[in-house]
Symmetry: C2
Subunit: 185 residues, 2 copies
Amino acid sequence: MTNWMDIVLSRRSIRKYKPDAPVSDDAVERMLRAAMAAPSACNQQPWRFVVVRDRALLDALADAHPYARMLRQAALAVCVCGDLAAETCFGGYWPQDCAAATENLLLAAHAQGLGAVWIGVHPYPAREADVRRILSIPEGFVPFCLVSVGVPAERKPPSDRFDPAKVRIDRWAPSGSEGASGDTP
Amino acid sequence: MTNWMDIVLSRRSIRKYKPDAPVSDDAVERMLRAAMAAPSACNQQPWRFVVVRDRALLDALADAHPYARMLRQAALAVCVCGDLAAETCFGGYWPQDCAAATENLLLAAHAQGLGAVWIGVHPYPAREADVRRILSIPEGFVPFCLVSVGVPAERKPPSDRFDPAKVRIDRWAPSGSEGASGDTP
């Protein structure tokens, strides 16, 4: 339990990687296994993954996306894609499902001593179009995010983001006394 | 590492709970710490949490939501809310950020031996309105999901959802030979 919480609480966004330090296929498979273990609405599992190791493609993604410079040093990227046709039971949940899968993927990278960072793509149409073009993603699938992965060349201390002011009990505020709990919304 | 992967791979959606079996405030705080350790776009942390232990409110949520019957037996629910005003840097990412926080919350429940299930609310307007009304959530905050939590009264084996057919390498398909990798999109 403590060990597990340490993984969750110590994960940080890592954008600097040791150049040319390899990340094994086994490590990537563990990340993908963790991602696909995420829950999804109606268990629709509306996700696909493109593992990008090709240097020219990584550089093209770095050039196309305004916040993806770190891909130039990354060992690989994982592009998480939404599968619209998988939503046969409930529609509209695929970004949430892909986000849960992405968080598991990030945690699995960190648990293996790797560094990773989530690079947002969806819901920005221009970013989706660029990633779609570079990775030849067909219609019906939406580039959701990129995850940059490598062997860390930076260390960051755990960031304590816990804020009790963001927690309410039972109701946001007692009826008729909005804000009475001391936390102005 | 193995221990951590076991947590991720063995987490299941648990909808049956031992009646009247308590869940401590400390356990809930660990879940909230894990949730708030999630990454978010621009580190905006656009989330709030309502911890619902009041039986009348849990029953009202169970009545209002078509898939929330399990709240009648749950020790508590956590309503994860998006904070629209927190998106000062980038807009539109809050559902992804809340989903990552929710996944961490579910994992922290499971790691402590608790059972939990993610109940979708956003983006369904009627569900958002019902939860907003019952929990007195003010405008500017969006009820994103409910997480039902209790001491498990059911056991489920790990569900292996890993599907190598959902993984592509470098490009979706080689240019001009869509589907050549054997996985029709």
